[in-house]
């Protein structure tokens, strides 16, 4: 990892208490450090346990998908992360430059025929760890919502 990650933290007057932005180079070795950087700045409205496990795991999944399937490991591209936090919880937007995908077309990894597959659990895991998952129309941005608590 050669490019340092730079998290920008702002406290805008308006809708959110804190807005953080982070550009992550499209290489998988940045996933862990990017997750730690954001988790360290997680809002106090989330419990330590939800930050330790739910936020970290879900964000790692979203970043890995954006790097591998969205930007296809193209290091000239970045994955853009925007975190909006307030007393109600946190919303994390992860956006890549890819063509997007159809989330409904992802097979269920818990079916017996898929259980021994090495890949294909990311979206399933992510959906179970956050309170809400939404995609933009193009399918290249995911928004994860973790409510306070």
């Amino acid at each position: 990892m050669t490019t340092p990650l730079q998290l920008e933290v702002r406290r805008p007057a308006g809708e959110f208490d804190v807005v953080m932005t982070l550009d992550v180079p499209s290489a998988l070795e940045y996933v862990g450090p990017a997750v730690e950087l954001i988790a360290r700045h997680a809002p106090a409205s989330l419990s330590a346990r939800r930050v330790r496990f739910n936020l970290r795991t879900a964000l790692a999944e979203a970043l890995a998908n954006a790097i591998a399937y969205g930007n296809r490991h193209d290091t000239s591209r970045v994955v853009r992360v925007r975190v909006e936090a307030d007393w109600q919880g946190v919303r994390i937007h992860v956006r890549d430059d890819g063509a997007g995908f159809d989330p409904a077309a992802v097979p269920d990894p818990t079916l017996p025929q898929n259980l021994e597959r090495e890949v294909g659990r990311g979206l399933f895991v992510l959906r179970h760890l956050v309170d809400h998952v939404a995609f933009n129309a193009a399918g290249n941005e995911i928004c994860l919502t973790l409510r306070a608590g």
Binding site: L28, E29, Y30, V31, G32, V35, R49, R52, F53, N54, R56, T57, A60, E61, A64, A68, P109, T110, L115, E116, R117, E118, V119, G120, R121, G122, F124, V125, H128
Partner: protein, 111 residues
């Protein structure tokens, strides 16, 4: 984050996962276990006592290693999952694929 490998007195390889097992470091774990398999080890315990989180890539590498170890006539057991990690294995139904013990000692005793 790091991985430690130790052979217990009965020859079981105990692999500790410190921090996280995710897309950025799973290959390192895979290589360490495969090297050990190539060197003749057949019984493995992966100890998650000090693990914070595991992503789907980490789960995938465990599935892959389990298959490779079984193909060589060996056995892989997991141990030390906290409540969140146990839930992760249950919701992905991987708890049906792995032998999971509460502690590394319990896993070692089951060989």
């Amino acid at each position: 984050m790091s991985f430690s490998l130790q052979k217990d007195k009965r020859g079981v390889m105990v692999v500790g996962v410190d921090g996280q097992l995710i897309v950025g470091n799973r290959q390192e774990l895979k290589q360490k276990v495969l090297d050990s398999l190539d060197s003749g080890a057949r019984k493995f315990v992966i100890d998650f006592t000090k693990t914070g989180y595991i992503d789907s890539s980490g789960l995938g590498v465990l599935v892959s290693l389990s298959k490779k170890i079984r193909e060589q006539g060996g056995d892989l057991r997991l141990a030390g999952l906290n409540e969140d990690l146990q839930t992760l294995f249950e919701l992905t139904k991987l708890d049906t694929l792995f032998a999971i013990a509460k502690t590394p000692e319990e896993a070692l005793g089951a060989f």
